[in-house]
C-alpha cells in the first residue's frame, strides 16, 4: 500500500532526530564514543520505508547532525581537517546505504507488486477459465438438447413420412444421384443400401406411359427451374401397382445454377383405389337409377317397339294376301315391303336408343356436347309417355348454345329424371292444363342453364328442402334416388342443380347450370 508522501518525507527528520537523540544520550552518559551507526540505521530505515528521496533527505539531515553534534567542534557545523575525510566517507557510505536500501526496497516493492499482479492475474484467469468452463458446459448441454431435438424431429419426420405415406428425395445435379428418405425407399420398394442411388432404379419401374411425362418434367425442372407436380404409377416387384404423386422443386445455388431437385413422393394408392371403388359404386347406383327410370318408362318403351312391329307384321300379312291374288299388284307390294323395311329400322332405332341409355358407362372423361341435343333425345325417348299423360310440351331451346364438357349418358339421365318427375307431378288431375316447359339458355359467367318446369302440384313447403336427399321419395314405388343422383351427376360436372316452386303459377321448376366449355378453356 502507498504511504502518503507527507508521511514518507516526515519519516526522514523524525528518524534522524531520534537517532541523533539516541547518539547524544549515549555520548552524554559516555557509554561509548560517539559513532554515527545509529544515524546510518535511521537512513537505512528511512530509505527502506520511504524510498530514495526521503533517504537523501535523511542523509543530508544525518550529515548535518553529524557535523553539528558529533564532530568537533561540537555544536558547530565547522569541521576540522582530520574529520573532513571521515565526513566525506560518511557521506559516501550514507549515500551508498541510502542507494542500496532504496534499490533493495524498490526491488522488493517491484517483487511485491509483481506478486500481487500475478495473484490478480491468476485470479482473473481462474475466473475466466471458470466462466469458459461454464459456457462450455452450457454449450454442451445445449448441443445435447439440440441433438436430442434433432433426433426427435428426425424421428417425427420419419414417423410423419411413414404415416402420411410421403417420402422425400433429393436429386443432385452434379452427381446425378438421388438420395431417398426411409419412407421414399419403402414407397419405391428399394433397400436401405440404395438410399443414394442413380434415379434409374426408380425410373425403370415406372409405367412406360407415365415415365416419359415424369422424365420431361424433371428435365424441365432442371432446365427452366419450374416446380412440378405429377401423378404416375409404378410396378412393384410383387406385381402390384402403386399410384404415386410427386412434387418437385429445383434448388438454385449461389451461382444461379440448379444444384439439386428436392421433392416428395406420396403413395396415393389407397386413396386412388378408394376413389375408384367410390366411382364404381356411384356408377352402379346411377345404373340402378337408370334402370329404374327405364322401368317407369316400360309402357312407353313397349309401345314404341310394338308400333313398328305391328306395322311389320300387318304389312307382311297384307303381302301374303296380295300374293295370293290372281293378279299381283306390284306397286302395292313394293310399298308394303318398303314399309316393312322402314318399320324394322324404326324398331332398331328404338332399341339402340334404349341400349345407349341403359349402357353401364365407366366414368370416362366427357366430351364436348350440346345440351339441346341431349334435351331432344330425352324428349324423343319420353314422347309417348308425355302423350299418354296428355301433356303439352313447351320447348324453348336457345340456338347457338355454348357446348359443355360432360358425359352424354349421365346428362341424359338427369334430364330424363327431371322430365319424368314433372310428368308424374302432373298425373294427378288438377283441372289445369298440363304443361311441361323445358328450356336451355346461357346463364351469367359462362354457364349453360337448363330449366324443366311443370304445372303440377308443386313442391310442398315441408318437403322441398329434402327432395335431393337420397331415399327421400313421395312416390309409392320410388327409390328416392333420382334427384340425389341427378344432383351428384351435375355437381361432378362442376354445376349446380336446385328446385323452386314456379313463380306466379302452380308447379315446380328444376334448374341446373353447367360451366360452358369456352369459359373453361380460357
Amino acid at each position: 500500500m502507498e504511504r502518503s508522501a507527507l508521511a514518507r518525507w516526515a519519516l526522514a527528520p523524525v528518524l534522524v532526530g531520534i537517532a541523533s537523540a539516541i547518539d547524544l544520550l549515549l555520548q552524554t552518559y559516555d557509554i561509548r564514543r560517539p559513532t554515527p551507526e545509529v544515524l546510518l540505521a535511521s537512513i537505512v530505515i528511512t530509505a527502506w520505508y520511504a524510498g530514495a528521496g526521503p533517504g537523501i533527505l535523511a542523509v543530508t539531515l544525518a550529515v548535518l547532525s553529524l557535523l553539528y553534534f558529533f564532530l568537533p567542534p561540537s555544536n558547530s557545523f565547522a569541521i576540522g581537517r582530520p574529520d573532513l575525510l571521515y565526513a566525506v566517507s560518511y557521506v559516501f557510505f550514507a549515500l551508498l546505504t541510502d542507494w542500496f536500501s532504496s534499490v533493495r526496497r524498490r526491488t522488493e516493492r517491484a517483487l511485491e507488486q509483481a506478486r500481487s499482479d500475478l495473484e490478480i492475474k491468476v485470479a482473473e484467469r481462474t475466473a475466466e477459465l471458470e466462466g469458459r468452463n461454464e459456457t462450455l458446459q452450457l454449450e454442451i448441454a445445449e448441443r445435447r438438447r439440440v441433438e436430442e431435438e434433432l433426433r426427435r424431429s428426425e424421428a417425427y419426420l420419419a414417423q410423419a413420412q411413414r404415416l402420411s405415406h410421403t417420402g422425400s428425395w433429393a436429386w443432385n445435379a452434379s452427381s446425378g444421384q438421388v438420395s431417398f428418405s426411409q419412407e421414399a425407399l419403402r414407397i419405391y420398394g428399394l433397400s436401405s443400401a440404395q438410399a443414394v442411388s442413380a434415379p434409374d432404379v426408380v425410373l425403370r419401374e415406372i409405367f412406360a406411359e407415365d415415365r416419359a411425362a415424369l422424365e420431361s418434367y424433371v428435365t424441365g425442372a432442371f432446365r427452366d427451374r419450374h416446380d412440378f407436380e405429377i401423378d404416375y404409377r409404378i410396378g412393384m416387384r410383387d406385381g402390384t401397382v402403386r399410384y404415386l404423386h410427386s412434387v418437385g422443386r429445383p434448388v438454385v445455388n449461389g451461382s444461379g445454377e440448379v444444384a439439386e431437385l428436392i421433392g416428395t413422393t406420396m403413395d396415393v394408392t389407397d386413396r386412388k383405389l378408394a376413389e375408384q371403388d367410390l366411382q364404381e359404386a356411384k356408377s352402379q347406383l346411377a345404373h340402378v337409377a337408370r334402370v329404374q327410370a327405364m322401368g317407369e318408362l316400360t309402357a312407353s318403351i313397349a309401345h314404341e317397339i310394338n308400333q313398328p312391329l305391328a306395322a311389320v307384321v300387318a304389312n307382311a300379312d297384307a303381302c301374303i294376301r296380295l300374293l295370293a291374288n290372281e293378279t299381283i299388284n306390284m306397286k302395292e307390294l313394293r310399298e308394303a315391303v318398303g314399309d316393312i323395311a322402314e318399320a324394322g329400322a324404326r324398331a332398331g332405332d328404338v332399341i339402340a336408343r334404349i341400349r345407349a341409355f341403359l349402357r353401364k358407362t365407366p366414368p370416362a372423361a366427357g366430351c364436348r356436347l350440346n345440351l339441346n341435343g341431349v334435351i331432344q333425345e330425352v324428349l324423343d325417348l319420353t314422347r309417348s309417355e308425355i302423350d299418354r299423360h296428355e301433356i303439352s310440351v313447351r320447348c324453348k331451346l336457345t340456338r347457338r348454345l355454348p357446348e359443355v364438357q360432360g358425359d352424354r349418358v349421365e346428362l341424359q339421365q338427369v334430364i330424363l329424371n327431371l322430365v319424368m318427375n314433372s310428368v308424374e307431378a302432373m298425373s294427378a288431375d288438377t283441372g289445369r292444363p298440363r304443361v311441361l316447359a323445358i328450356g336451355s339458355a346461357t346463364a351469367g359467367d359462362g354457364a349453360v342453364e337448363v330449366t324443366v318446369s311443370d304445372s303440377g302440384i308443386g313442391l310442398p313447403a315441408e318437403t322441398s328442402g329434402r327432395v335431393f336427399d337420397a331415399f327421400f321419395t313421395t312416390k309409392p314405388d320410388g327409390l328416392g334416388l333420382g334427384l340425389a343422383i341427378s344432383r351428384s351427376i351435375i355437381e361432378s360436372h362442376g354445376g349446380r342443380l336446385w328446385a323452386v316452386n314456379s313463380e306466379g303459377k302452380a308447379g315446380a321448376t328444376f334448374r341446373f347450370t353447367l360451366p360452358a366449355c369456352g369459359a373453361e378453356a380460357a
Binding site: H303, Q307, A314, A336, S384, D387
Partner: protein, 209 residues
C-alpha cells in the same frame, strides 16, 4: 239392303301402322278409311253402312277409351276393335265391359284382326237391321188411332175381346173391329207376332186390377 258395302275405320296416330292396317284390311276386301286422331274421326262424316272401328288406345288429345265413351254417350253403336302397343289387364277389362269387340295387343296376326273386324261388321249389320225393323214397326204403330193404341196392349196381354170391351166400356163387336185393324196395320200374321212386336216397341200392358 244387305248388299251395302261395309266400311272399316282405322284411327292410329302412327303413320306406318296406319298404312299397314289400311293395306291389310283392304287386302281382305274391305273399304278402309284412316284417321290420325280421334278428333279427326269424330269430325268426319260417316256414310250409312255397316262399319267397324279399329282404334289405337293411346292417342294424342282424345284417347281411344275416351272416344269409346263419347260414342256410347251419343248412342252411336259402332263395334270397336282396340289395338294397343302395351295393354294391361284393367285397360282390357274396361274396354271389353264397355262393349268392345276385341282387344288386340300389337303386333297381331291378320286372322285375329280380320276375324274381329268381321265379327264387328256382323254385329253392326245386325244392329242396323234391328234398328231398321224397329223403325218400320214404329211407322206402323204411328198409323194406329188412339183407341187402337189403347186396345193394343190389352190384346197382347192376352185378354179376350169380351174382357177388353168391359174394361173399355164398349161392345165386344167394336173391340173385334179394333183388334182386326191393329193386326192389319201392324202387319202381324198372328197374335204371337203382335206380342213380339209389342215387346220390341216396348209397349207394356196397363197394370191389371
Amino acid at each position: 239392303m244387305n248388299e251395302e258395302a261395309p266400311i272399316v275405320f282405322v284411327v292410329d296416330d302412327e303413320k306406318l301402322v296406319r298404312r299397314a292396317l289400311e293395306r291389310l284390311i283392304r287386302s281382305a276386301g274391305f273399304e278402309v278409311r284412316t284417321f290420325a286422331s280421334a278428333r279427326d274421326f269424330l269430325s268426319a262424316g260417316r256414310p250409312e253402312a255397316p262399319a267397324c272401328l279399329v282404334l289405337d288406345v293411346r292417342l294424342p288429345d282424345l284417347s281411344g277409351m275416351d272416344l269409346q265413351q263419347e260414342l256410347m254417350r251419343a248412342g252411336d253403336y259402332l263395334p270397336i276393335v282396340f289395338v294397343t302397343g302395351h295393354g294391361d289387364i284393367p285397360m282390357t277389362v274396361r274396354a271389353m265391359k264397355a262393349g268392345a269387340v276385341e282387344f288386340l295387343t300389337k303386333p297381331f296376326r291378320d286372322q285375329d284382326l280380320l276375324g274381329a273386324i268381321e265379327q264387328g261388321i256382323r254385329s253392326s249389320r245386325a244392329a242396323r237391321e234391328h234398328r231398321k225393323e224397329i223403325l218400320a214397326l214404329r211407322q206402323c204403330y204411328d198409323s194406329l188411332t188412339a183407341r187402337e193404341r189403347e186396345v193394343f196392349p190389352l190384346v197382347t196381354s192376352g185378354l179376350l175381346n169380351k174382357q177388353i170391351a168391359v174394361r173399355l166400356g164398349t161392345s165386344e163387336k167394336t173391340i173385334k173391329v179394333h183388334r182386326g185393324q191393329v193386326m192389319h196395320k201392324m202387319e202381324a200374321a198372328s197374335l204371337a207376332d203382335l206380342v213380339r212386336m209389342g215387346e220390341k216397341l216396348g209397349i207394356r200392358p196397363p197394370i191389371s186390377d
